[in-house]
């Protein structure tokens, strides 16, 4: 037994504990070893997300990208009880269902953005709302982005109009370890708990390169890249040591030792230890190829896994190594040059990483970019073709839904149009690899949560009520 068990085991233990209480065995103070070991609540801020009730929906006559490489022309998809039930022709709809004729339109899985700061750097900006970087210490694994998220950020509605159904909201990149990210469903709520993706694993943000050394260079360091790397390694070593103290406690408890002492909790090391065990997924901001290669070695040294390098502007230089290490790259189509570590950005990065068979993701890191991730994929796709990298549109859509879902540990639930998966679906007005295509319908768990053609149905954040442009087409 150890502290860092997943939720299911925790519930099991709780059940055993209450059974023991019922049997009157747990208050025996003489026999301390019979008391259950101390367990940490792995989920103190549980999701309260509830899908909007929905009727069955049959989308017909569409060009459908299933998100895992398949394309179905003039086909239908059936959404029922919040799930994808079938793709094909001649699907029958239950009596109370709704048919949506999508002739000339395209259907894809909802877009999943692995890198958003919506809510933690919300609009309007300003120091009052600057809640994304706990820039007080280079390692702040103890902070959780969800405790900064302001659900009234109008950016959520804007992203929805861009077909985004799920996103990971991360702390910023000031710190070597910035804290936990959280995966949310893009159904704008009143509390962040209302938006949390049920049972999604946590992410943990780390950052390479210029940002940490710039922020801490005059605040006690690190002030160099070598200082950064020493910082990651010491943090991991501390986490290993911390894990051992809990392992020892559980071993002692199991052995019936009466003096088994519950270790002092350290929230920072607790998160790091979970990341070492793979229960929290590491998402690392890293631009340069050499920085990423260093981190691949740190990953091996401490035997953990990096789910994805974010930004990965030079991933194309080591795409083969990234493929071998099975680390995803989450990239922009064409951002470059705003920092020296972004100076070698090229527009073929995404298709070149894909061509090397490394996991490829298109991300935004932007409250504007998140509204047009389909266009980012389209640019990368087209630039790849011009460079002789011929990728089908059906394959390219993996960058927007399936691969991000895999890197977030939610691919069993969403990220593709497969039977049994969450009905997170977008109907596009046209081929979504076009500037002019717009998301017309967005479904989340089978419910229509955005309808471009029905302005009265659009969500409006509290902040925008009573302000110029309230309810306007945004």
């Amino acid at each position: 037994m150890n502290i860092l068990d997943n939720k299911r085991q925790l519930f099991k233990l709780a059940a055993v504990a209450s059974l023991l209480t019922l049997l009157g065995c747990s208050d025996s103070s003489e026999d301390k070893a019979n008391e259950p070991a101390f367990q940490i609540n792995a989920n103190p801020f549980p999701s309260t997300y509830k899908p909007i009730p929905s009727k069955s929906v049959l989308i017909t006559n569409a060009t459908i990208l299933d998100g895992i490489g398949g394309i179905f022309n003039n086909s239908s998809v059936l959404l029922q009880d919040g799930k994808i039930v079938a793709i094909g022709n001649d699907l029958s709809l239950p009596d109370d269902g709704v048919t949506v004729d999508a002739k000339g339109k395209w259907v894809t899985p909802g877009i999943i953005d692995v890198h958003s700061h919506l809510g933690v750097y919300p609009a309007p900006g300003g120091t009052a709302h600057s809640d994304g970087n706990e820039a007080t210490n280079p390692v702040t694994a103890e902070v959780w982005a969800e405790h900064s998220i302001w659900p009234q950020d109008a950016g959520f509605q804007r992203a929805l109009a861009g077909g985004v159904t799920v996103m990971q909201i991360l702390p910023g990149s000031a710190n070597l370890v910035g804290g936990r990210g959280v995966t949310v469903k893009n159904l704008p709520g009143t509390t962040v708990q209302d938006m949390k993706f049920p049972d999604a694993p946590y992410g943990m943000k780390m950052a390479c390169g210029e940002n940490p050394k710039r922020v801490y260079g005059k605040k006690g360091g690190p002030s160099t890249r070598m200082g950064n790397v020493a910082g990651y390694r010491q943090a991991w070593a501390d986490a290993q040591n911390y894990q051992r103290t809990w392992d020892n406690y559980y071993a002692d408890h199991e052995a019936g030792k009466k003096d088994a002492k519950i270790p002092k909790r350290d929230l920072k090391l607790e998160t790091l230890a979970l990341a070492l065990k793979g229960e929290i997924l590491v998402h690392m901001h890293c631009y340069r190829a050499d920085d990423m290669a260093t981190m691949l070695d740190v990953m091996k040294e401490f035997n953990y896994k990096i789910a994805a390098f974010h930004h990965a502007v030079e991933a194309y230089k080591i795409a083969d190594q990234l493929a071998e290490a099975e680390v995803c790259s989450a990239m922009w189509a064409d951002w470059w040059g705003f920092k020296l570590e972004a100076y070698d950005g090229i527009q073929e990065n995404i298709p070149m990483v894909h061509a090397a068979k490394a996991c490829t993701i298109v991300h935004s890191d932007s409250d504007l970019g998140i509204q047009r991730l389909n266009q980012e994929a389209a640019k990368a796709w087209a630039n790849g073709r011009r460079a002789g990298i011929d990728i089908s549109q059906a394959d390219a859509w993996q960058w927007l839904s399936a691969n991000p879902a895999k890197s977030l540990g939610i691919f069993e639930q969403t990220g593709s149009l497969e039977t049994g998966k969450n009905a997170d679906v977008v109907i596009w007005s046209a081929d979504p690899f076009s500037t002019y295509a717009q998301a017309e319908h967005v479904y989340l768990d089978g419910a229509l949560i955005y309808d471009r053609n029905d302005p009265a149905s659009w969500p409006v954040s509290d902040f925008e009520l009573g302000q110029p442009g309230e309810g306007d087409s945004k």
């Binding site: 309007p124 900006g125 504007l368 002789g388 002019y436 717009q438 442009g469 087409s473 945004k474």
Partner: protein
């Protein structure tokens, strides 16, 4: 397609003879002239001595012309970067000198005198990166001075030349939104008085001698006054960053107080709310049409519909506020079109409208006889993200379709394992 590629390959191999060629005919494309001639299908564009000679429909006898087969392609004037810092910055952040920013200095108390024409570096890698994607000229200016004005901007060509300047001291920029107020006294109440005072002193000085021997009791430095005189005479535009409707109304009132001022509003995020007044007062705008968030209290009404609504009201709209990625201006225009701007106005926002607001539409911005031959041949609709510039001519010369980025791409397209990549010459 094949013919064009063959031609391009030949073009780079036969660079020397080509440079000597004075006459070029682009044949078979759909040509958006952006002039009164409109769009011409299956057109022939004749270029001679670096100038557009003629655009006509169909094929003509072309003895003496190098022929570029552009069947199935789309041809437009070169795009003009409406608001950039091109040539002033390589990497803006923690990487040494950045000529687009300045700190306080005793030479100028308002920032009006600063002059970017001394700072432009045609070897900046940004130039070729923008050029090969169809941006052939640009307005360039400082982004931040910490003072009332962001200095005097310049107009430049992005041609492969050692003399990029088209016009020095071509415009002056200022800000009257939150950013301006934060810089000048922390309040619009301070900012506007400062701006009015500067303009009043400059107007007073028009026609007067300002040599060191002359008396001058104004609060602005003589250097600043000299810079502001062409501005108050309306000879160069004043670019004013204003976002909320109330600020835009103040700018309209400014123009009504000083009718000779040639005012352009940048950002104009809530411009749609005062679109008619802007049109009535003949004030053009330069937009980032993708700004649709209430990012501050001075742009609560931001919407993707802004560009379309402004143009519908008769406001002349330009698009292109970027530096490293000014090449994305056409995507911005495309998104404005997806949200209501008429397509032709989307292209005008990248070409002729920009030329008009800087007063260079006699030489740039459209494909008309006598104008400089800045021409782009696109694979298709230039506002479509999947299309690209296939050939770019600046002053009648095809540019080498190569940049630092294309070289990085070509080096790494096939990863070598037998020797380090630094030995691979793309």
């Amino acid at each position: 397609m094949n013919t064009l590629i063959k031609y391009l390959l030949l073009g780079s191999m036969l660079l020397t003879p080509f440079v000597g060629a004075k006459s070029i005919a682009i044949v078979g494309a759909k040509v958006h002239t952006m002039s009164s001639q409109g769009t011409v299908d299956n057109a022939t564009v004749l270029i001679k001595d670096g100038k557009i000679q003629k655009v006509m429909q169909g094929e003509v006898a072309l003895a003496g012309y190098e022929i570029i087969d552009a069947k199935g392609k789309v041809v437009t004037p070169g795009l003009i970067g409406a608001s950039t810092s091109l040539g002033l910055v390589d990497v803006g952040f923690s990487a040494g000198t950045n000529d687009s920013n300045s700190s306080l200095t005793s030479i100028s108390a308002t920032g009006a005198a600063f002059d970017v024409s001394y700072a432009i570096n045609p070897d900046s890698s940004l130039m070729a990166i923008a050029r090969i994607e169809g941006v052939t000229s640009a307005a360039t200016s400082m982004g931040r001075t910490g003072q009332l004005f962001n200095g005097q901007g310049a107009l430049i060509t992005l041609g492969d030349t050692s003399t990029p300047l088209i016009q020095a001291r071509a415009f002056i920029s200022t800000r009257v939104g939150n950013g301006g107020a934060d810089t000048i006294g922390g309040s619009r109440s301070v900012l506007w008085v400062s701006l009015e005072k500067a303009l009043a002193e400059a107007k007073f000085a028009v026609g007067k001698s300002l040599s060191p021997r002359d008396e001058w009791h104004g609060e602005l430095s003589r250097t600043d006054i000299v810079a502001l005189i062409p501005l108050v005479k309306g000879e160069i535009p004043l670019l004013v960053d204003a976002r909320r409707a109330a600020d835009i109304r103040q700018v309209i009132a400014l123009k009504q107080r000083h009718s000779q001022l040639n005012i352009v509003i940048t950002y104009a995020t809530e411009g749609w709310r005062v679109a008619k007044e802007l049109a009535d007062n003949n004030i053009p705008v330069i937009l980032n049409p993708e700004a649709n968030l209430p990012s501050s209290f001075d742009q609560l009404g931001a919407t993707l519909k802004n560009a379309g609504r402004l143009a519908d009201a008769g406001v002349q709209v330009s698009i292109g506020m970027e530096t490293h990625n000014i090449r994305l201006a056409r995507q911005h225009a495309g998104n404005a079109v997806a949200n209501g701007l008429i397509w032709e106005q989307g292209l005008a926002a990248l070409t002729i409208n920009v030329a008009k607001l800087y007063g260079i539409d006699d030489t740039l911005g459209s494909l008309e006889a006598g104008k400089i031959a800045d021409v782009v041949i696109w694979s298709g609709d230039p506002l479509e993200v999947t299309e690209a510039a296939e050939m770019v001519l600046i002053a009648g010369e095809p540019v080498k379709m190569q940049s630092r980025q294309s070289k990085l791409r070509d080096r790494y397209l096939k990863l070598q394992t037998d020797k380090p990549m630094q030995y691979v010459r793309p």
